[in-house]
Structure formats: C-alpha cells, structure tokens
Amino acid sequence: MGKGWCLFFLFWPVAAVVSCAMAPMVGWSFPYDNAQAASNLGIRIDGLFYLILFVTAVVFVGTQAVLVYALWRGSSNRDERATYTHGNHKLELIWSIIPGVILLFLALYQMNLWADFRIKKYFPEAAVKAPIAEVTARQFEWRFRYPAIGKELQPKPQSDDLYSVNELHVPFGKPVMIQLRSEDVQHSFFLPALRIKQDALPGLQIPVWFEANKEGVYDLVCAELCGWGHYKMKAHVIVESEADYQNYLKNLTQQQFYDGLGKIAANENDSESEATEK
C-alpha cells in the first residue's frame, strides 16, 4: 500500500472537520440563517446537539488519526510484520467501556432536558394551568381554538371560543402550552425554529409547551407524511409581545361575533388575521 492511500485517508477526516466548521457560515446549519433557537429549551437542545457533535468529532478524528498513523507506518516499514491479536481481552474491554461510559454520560446528562420537555410534571406551572389554545391538525391544515379572553381553555368547545386557521399567535417571553389533537391521521407539530416537535395522534390530546424568546413569524410544519397534501400543511406561528397578543385576541373576538354591522364592516370579508394586522 502506497503513501497515496495514507493521504487519501487523511483527507476525509480533515474535509469532514472543515466542512462542519464552515457549515454555519454557508447556511447548512440550523434553520433561519443559523440563528440561535427561538426558545430557551431550543437553546438547551442545541447545546446537547453541539455536545454530541463534539464527542463524535473527537472520536472520529481520533480513530482516523490512528488509522492514518498505522497506514503510514506500515507503508514506510516493509520489514515489520503486523501481529494478529484476535480476542485481546484488554482491548475488548477498552472499546466497550469507553463508548459505554460516553453513552451513559449522554443519557444521564440529557435527562433533565428531556423531562422538562416531555414530562408534564416538570412543565412550567403557569403554562400548564392556562393552555393558550387547542391545535387541531387535519389534512391539510392547522386549526386553532383559543378560549375567550379572561377564560380558560376547556376540553370541549365553548360558545365564546375563538377560532383561526393556519395562524397561531403566541406571546413571547413566557412559557405557553397548547393541547395538540388530530382530526384524521397522524400528523406532527413541528416548529423548527423553536426545536419543538410532537406527533399528533387521533383520539389523544397531547400537551406541548414552549417558550419563544423573540418576536417573529415562524413556520409551523407537519413533520409526518400524512397524505398527498402533507407538504402543504404549513402554518405560521406569530410570536409577539403580550400587548400585541392581547390585541390580536380582542380583534379576533370582534370578528368572531361580527353581526354584519358596526365598525369592522369595511374589512369584513378579510380574514380574521388581516383585520388585526392593518
């Protein structure tokens, strides 16, 4: 085996490390121009991601370095013979225990994060107490039901509930919770910018909480192949200040109880959301 092969095997770990390091600069990294996650939990998830990336990178680079070293030595020294060491007890122990320790460490390290994300007992109390909306996924749109201003969301629809489609408004800077449902098949509530993803299952009502940390319009997409229109199942989550959010609800209320007369007559045929944006 020639030295060219050593260079060949040296090239790949170097290329991998360089392209990973470049990824954020050329937009191959996280969504929305590699911006930091738009939720605090998301930032923690990113941290976990980077930790795993670091561990795997060290292992990858380390093993590749050993490989290149072995190749290099073998190619420059024709006299030395390789020794066959099948069943070396010490080696077997080393390469079982080290990955085992790493995996155990990761498993323990992320437990708090997982609990905060998924276990209702650890959800922020304020969010659990007052879910802001019921989100119903259906082929191929997202429907939202908010409680009336000053009231709490009930499991069953109420006469003064507020409704909207494909546009969910939430306030930022505080944890909010939604109740996720599906009307037909399995869908998945995915907020890439907030690193939130939860499947919606028919017959279940699944609580999902998140805390957006900055204003903006974020995509809500369906991450489950739910039918031919799956790719169209897209909505906007509009993260705004508490005041704007209350204003939105007020406008929605006005629209919802519109009787064809009165001051919103001018734009009555506009959708609910637009009336508030103008």
Binding site: Q139, E141, R143, P157, S159, V165, D259, L261, D270, E274
Partner: protein
Amino acid sequence: MRFGLSRLSLLLLFPLFSLTGCEQPQVNFVFSEKTNELVPEAAKPVKEALVRQFGNPFELTQFEGLPTDFGDVEGSVKTVQASSGEEKLIRFQVEGLQDAYPKLLGLPLEWTSGKGQGQISRIKEYNYETGTIAVDKTADIDPQPGDTFLVECTRLQFGRDLYNRHCMHCHGMSGEGTGPTSRYLNPPPRDFRQGIYKYTSTKPTAKAQNADLERTVKEGIAGTYMPSFKLLTDDEVSAIVNYVVWLSIRGETEKKIVDELFFDYSKKVVAERTSEDGGESREDVMEELKEYMELDFPDTLEFATSSVAEAWEEANMEDAVVVPETPRVPDTPESRERGRKLYLGDKTKCATCHGPQGRGNGTATQDFWTNPATNEKYPNRGLHDIWGNQLPPRDLHRGIYRGGRRPIDVYRRMYSGIKGTPMPAFGGPLSDEELWDLVNYVMSLPYSSK
C-alpha cells in the same frame, strides 16, 4: 441466484412503473357531458365557439366584456432577428415586458401598430432573460423595430398557474370538480361550471362576490377537504379567484348555449325525430340546424356570455350584499326560546330537514326527492344538491360551520339559503329579529346538554 429472478424483473420494471404512475392531467378544457350528448353537427360549432372565446388552459384567450382582470402588458419591438427562409417562427427582441409575468408562453399578443395592427399572434417562445419572443410567421405579421403590442391575459395566466398548482388536483383543469384526487373526497370538490357557490354574502339569487371566494380560499371550509390557503399572499388569492370566476363563466356560457340546442339537437332527440314516428329526414333536421347555426347561434352565444358576465358584475356591487337591518338580538335565553319555537314552527319547517333536535335527521331525509333538472326521482332517499350529490342536512350540534361561524355568516345562511342546495332563503318570510332569534338558537345548540 439468491436475489431471484422475480425481484430482478421487478427492478427492471421500476422505470416503467414510475412512468405509467404519473397520470398526465388533461391539458385541454373539457366539455360538459351535455355538450357531448349533442349530435356532432351541433357539438362541433359549440366547442369551436368556446375555444375561440376562452382558449385552452395553455392558450388562454381574452374576450371583451367579461368581469375578468385579464392583465394586458404593453411592449414594443426592439430588434427583429433575421430568420432563415424555412423557419416557421419570427423572433424579435422586446422592450417593456421586464416587469411582466415571466411565463408568457401561449398567450395572445395583439399588435397595436405597424403592418399587423389589429392582428393577434400567439406567443410560441418567450425568454424572460433575453426578452425574446417568437410568433408564427404569416403574411400579415411583419414586426419592425418600434412596433407596439399588447400581451394579453398575463394576470389570468398568473391565476391559472397558481390554480393549477394548488386547486387543480381536486377541482380539475376546467373547474369541473374531477381532478385526480377528487374521487377520494367526500363531499366531492365543487364543479365551478354552474357558477354556483354555496357560501356567499350576497342575496339569494345573486352570485358570489370575489371577496366571498377569497375568504373561502383563505379560511378553507371546515368539515370538508377544502383546506385553508392563508399562507398565499392577498394578491395570489385574488389572482386565483379571478381565474376561478373566469372558469365559471366559461362553464356557464357553455351550459347556456347547450341548453338552447339540447331540446332539438341532442343525439336522443334527433334519433326520435328521424325515427319512423318522428317522420323527419335527417337531411331536413341538419338543414334546420345549419340555418340555426348561421342565423341565431351568434346571438345566442353573445347573449349567453353577456348575461353571465352581467350576473357576475352585479354580484360584486355593494348592494348585492346581505346586510341585516337590525343588529344581532342579544343572545338571551328568551331569544333562544323564540328561536326554538320558530325552528319547530310551520313558518320555517327547519325541523323537517334538520330534525326536531337539530341532529340533521328530519323526516325529509327519509323521502325520495325529485331532481328538478330531470324531473325524475333520485335513486336514494334524502336531499340532494344541484350537483347531484346526496346531501344530509347539517347536524347543528357539531359546531362546524362550513360557511363561517360568525353570527353574520349564520344569519346569511338563513337569509339567502345555501345556494345550490335545498336549504331555502328565509330573507323574505322572516323578519330580521326572527332571523337573529333563530341564529341565537342554532348557535346555542352545540353547547346545549340535549
């Protein structure tokens, strides 16, 4: 041979599967069944007239007098490329189309100056980058630098492209409601060619306002497969509606002229007329048809188009909208009780269809009804809409409001009825207060314990 011959052959067949799996959608407008039931001698001129006036999806045609935003864009010839003698196209560079829609292929181009003034060419090639257009070479078309022209239908084409991307797979290329996915849907997608839309803000006999259709596109229809297209921009939604209405106008025009001919020249009627009992010879009937086509058909066509266009224009007038004279009567137990009495009473007969409890199971759902179009009984029990679908009356307890859940939406459903369905208009018989009482009662049903 572990891989196995059968698997190998499957693998080899894969390209074939993938080719046959892609059904190419129809690229021409389809004609209605009724048109195809005419004798060929009558169907042919009808089809030709429709193609002349409306073109086809990939060769749209501008027709004056429709309430449609066709979207003309002006341009002028910059340079003409010398073409070899055998070339069938003339290519020329243009100015002024930089802001136009980048895809102008197939659109009509009307010459507004030069030798070909008044002539219409079809755009055979268009390169947005270089601003080059190619049209058919004819004796009259001889573009010179400086000649001006209009490219027609750019707005309509924009709407068509969006429609084909977002709506066509259910509603079909011609708006006939039979796109590739339609067979899986219940209720089936709407056939636009009758020009009737269920959920409008307009008076009982009026068509839909553009704004009504825009609202439907943006909000979707809860309880059906029509999803919300809220993420499209307002401009895109209005372009889609512009195109959908144009498809409706095309379909309605076709229906009107075919209805005129059907009575005398359908295959069935002609067969009867030329049978022994009928006693006419086929030559006589065809002679009569020829005369009709020469003398009366142009007027029929003109009248059909203009009356349809007028109806759409009127619907978009301000006074076409139903506006209650009194505000909503406060939603009190008393008002709901008055509403309940009306609901059960003889004045409205709501319970006949929607059932005494509002469960959608009134006695009318057990009867055999007559199809008003054919005067024959439907094969199934229950109510039907004009598109021929069986139509259960709404269960009022479900809290799903297809036409919108605002009080005004429910009011308008009662005032104007639901167009194309047996739900009648109560705008005359009931006073505003009575209507509001009914609205209050109906809207309370989903939350009542019963």
